[in-house]
Amino acid sequence: MTAQDNTPAAGTPARTGDGIRDILRSGAVFILLAALMIGFSLAEPAFINLNNLMSILQAVSVVAILGVGVTVTLAVGGFDLSIGAVAASSVMAASYAMIVWGLGTAETVALVLALGAVIGLLNALLIVRLKVPDLLATLAMMFLLTGLQLIPTAGRSISPGLILPDGATATGKYDPAFLTIGRSSLFGIVPLPVILMAVVAIALYVLTERTRIGRLLFATGGNELATRLAGGPTDRLKTLAYVISGTLASLGGIVVAARVGRGDVSSGGSLLMDAVAASLIGYAVLGLRRPNVLGTLVGAVFVGVLLNGLTMLNAPYYTQDFVKGAVLVGALALTYGIARKA
């Protein structure tokens, strides 16, 4: 569909074509998104109904929150592969805190967010202090967490009445207030996870694009030496990025836990890949060719719309990964290949 939209403009050598081409390049993803939505609503009128649109946003909210975290680490020239595992560990930690320790909502949320921040700090310690390359450090952290989350329960999923490794039975249960994080809606229309996603996206958009911290984060990723020689605290900035990404991943985990209502050992399986895909698709948004929070959000929504629409048109569930992969390949080709030539 991209190709069809682009060809007429790309083929016009006239100067007036440049303006159109620019608009097409920077708006390609938006135009495609609009085209998809129109197409899906024509094929299946139920698609455009408000509840369905909200359910799309709700479905992508966790991926978008994690994707924003990845975007921040990409901005400092790093990469956080541990976010999926952080989110999964957070689901387990939240469940464990409530069901085994019997903690309330506030304590649980604070504890889990702190867990994410500490994991971010550990990542930063490996990367900044010990100079482990970021991909390797966060990949190792991913393995570590994937294994660690199984140990307290001896590999069992956590639900009320859990039998602990020492034979005792857990007495706690999910706090109903905690469940509202994942299951309630504002005015009965906008799900709370969607609001969380919007708050995270707006806050991080402002931080990365409008503040001096954001400028310094990007500067660190663009040219670390130059930033340090300009007096920028590059080590602290990188640490900040990984702490943000870890904390956002644990927030994503909280949303998952509050939605599912149990600590499932297999939760968060595809979160990492989906979040990375969203931030990479984001490179194509506005033709920026760099990590950006708005793009990540649009990338996540784009994939969500596509999957939801295809599901409504009875596309089988097992084609989902193929569709995501195709979108990512298309977006990267648009970002690096087609857009540059134009």
Binding site: T211, R212, N223, L225, A226, L229, G231, R290
Partner: protein, 495 residues
């Protein structure tokens, strides 16, 4: 018969004519220097003859036959070899010098599929013997100096039966001794009948080498000077206006001492030295590459430490532990190689002129945390006016600027806030003569701070500084010219 002849070549980029009706020829065994300010058309011409660009009009003959290389590989096969300014790309760190020398033979399948170390060493040594160079074949390419990398590139070209060698600013990162060694090599090659097209901003190079100097301006060949070349006249032709004379206005070190080093040691084993820079003074340190100039500047900037001795800034003890400390204390530094040390990559946030200038001052200019784009733009506009930066505006990317204008932006960054000491490491790298004069004037116009410049080119040192000291083996040797002693005019020293 000329080896290479260009007849009314032209090439346009959009509405800019980079080359217009350009005619030129070079004989075998001749060294011709191309001079021209940035944008004069030198690199366009070189790109056309080395197969990177095609000409719009006109034609080339090489050894009497029509020559229109479509790719650099085609130009290489024909015998036209270009050695680029940046020699990092000649080999691969981790592979040996021998591997780097044989790199294109691996590509063109003239080497068997299985390569043995012994064979690589043998063939590489043969190549070096033919070229007359002495290089360690087994060393890691990454361990070579810039000069040695230059030689690897040349040797590879010669093994490819080069008849025309194009050198783009080959001495930009070489010390004086290394440059002299390169001159000797090039003169040997000339005696073997190889033609050399030499592009440089350095008059010392051209003086030592060039049989002819061709001056380009606005895409045209304006004038050709034969040996002995009157360089003052050549430079005036090149920039199209008379040159202001060099330093008749050297100032005495009258201000109070701004930076004082006593008993400073750069390395644990090196000799200690004292150094004082005064307010309102421009002090230049010259010395060969690796003499310790950059190490000294880095230590003062907190990006390294002294092995011994004490530093005082404005009379108070000064021990910066990071560039951040130094910047907070009013010590600023524009590092060597601006692309690496100062600029953001193209297409990345912060590549704009305004953002480049504001990077170290973000906290001071944006105390609330939110970026104030208007303030940043105003500051950039003021710098563009003051330093005569040729740019479309404060939002233009630094990558759209010429080398000289980029350097002006870097200087503007550190002039945007009042500082006490400005450190400049090789500030004239890849900067054309016109921009160099503007930069020197800007540096010298300030008397509220001290300026310390490191340059491996003594001429540049005399051109910019009130006082020049020499550094060798990590220690300061002696002062060439103190205070208000009679100024040495830079160009007189070489004529």
């Amino acid at each position: 018969m000329p080896l290479l002849q260009a007849k009314s070549l032209s090439r346009s980029f959009g509405s800019t004519r980079a080359l217009a009706d350009f005619s030129f020829s070079i004989e075998p065994g001749e060294i011709v220097a191309l001079m021209g300010a940035n944008g004069a058309g030198k690199s366009t011409f070189v790109k056309i003859i080395s197969g990177v660009l095609a000409a719009d009009g006109g034609g080339l003959t090489f050894k009497g036959r029509t020559y229109a290389p479509a790719t650099p590989a085609e130009a290489n096969t024909a015998g036209v070899v270009t050695v680029h300014q940046s020699t990092d790309l000649v080999g691969i760190p981790g592979l040996s010098v021998g591997d780097a020398l044989l790199l294109n033979r691996f590509v063109d399948r003239s080497q068997p599929f299985f390569v043995s170390r012994a064979r690589v060493r043998r063939e590489a040594q043969a190549m070096l013997r033919d070229a007359g160079f002495d290089l360690p074949v087994d060393r890691d390419f990454a361990a070579l100096s810039a000069a040695e990398r230059q030689l690897v590139a040349i040797a590879r070209g010669l093994a490819n039966r080069a008849e025309l060698l194009i050198l783009d600013e080959p001495t930009a990162s070489l010390s004086a001794t290394e440059s002299r060694r390169l001159y000797q090599t090039l003169l040997d090659l000339k005696n073997r009948g190889i033609a050399i097209l030499y592009i440089s901003h350095r008059t010392a190079d051209l003086e030592a080498l060039a049989d002819r100097v061709a001056v380009l301006r606005g895409g045209r060949l304006v004038e050709t000077f034969a040996r002995p070349v009157n360089f003052d006249q050549a430079i005036e032709t090149m920039i199209g206006r008379p040159l202001a004379s060099a330093r008749p206005d050297a100032r005495a070190a009258g201000g109070e001492p701004m930076l004082e080093l006593s008993g400073a040691r750069l390395l644990p084993g090196s000799d200690p030295f004292d150094l004082t820079v005064h307010r309102g003074e421009v002090l230049a340190i010259t010395g060969v590459l690796g003499a310790g100039k950059s190490r000294l500047l880095c230590a003062i900037f907190g990006n390294g430490v002294l092995a011994g001795g004490i530093m005082r800034l404005g009379g108070e003890a000064y021990t910066p532990s990071s560039p951040r400390d130094a910047v907070d204390a009013g010590v600023f530094m524009a590092g060597e190689d601006r692309h690496r040390s100062s600029l953001m990559p193209a297409g990345w946030p912060g590549e704009e002129i305004a953002a480049t200038i504001s990077l170290p001052h973000l906290t001071r200019w944006n105390p609330a945390g939110l970026i104030r784009p208007r303030l940043e733009r105003e500051k950039a506009k003021a710098a563009i006016r003051r330093l005569g930066i040729r740019a479309s505006g404060p939002d233009a990317s630094v990558w759209t600027l010429s080398g000289g204008n980029q350097q002006k932006v870097v200087l503007a960054r550190w002039e945007a806030e009042p500082g006490r000491l400005l450190l400049l490491d090789e500030p004239f790298q890849g900067v054309d003569v016109g921009a160099r004069h503007d930069i020197i004037a800007a540096i010298r116009s300030r008397d509220d701070r001290a300026t310390l410049i490191a340059t491996s080119d003594p001429e540049e040192a005399y051109e910019v500084a009130d006082r020049v000291v020499t550094m060798d083996h990590h220690t300061i040797l002696h002062s060439h010219r103190d205070g208000n002693a009679s100024p040495v005019r830079s160009r007189e020293t070489t004529q």
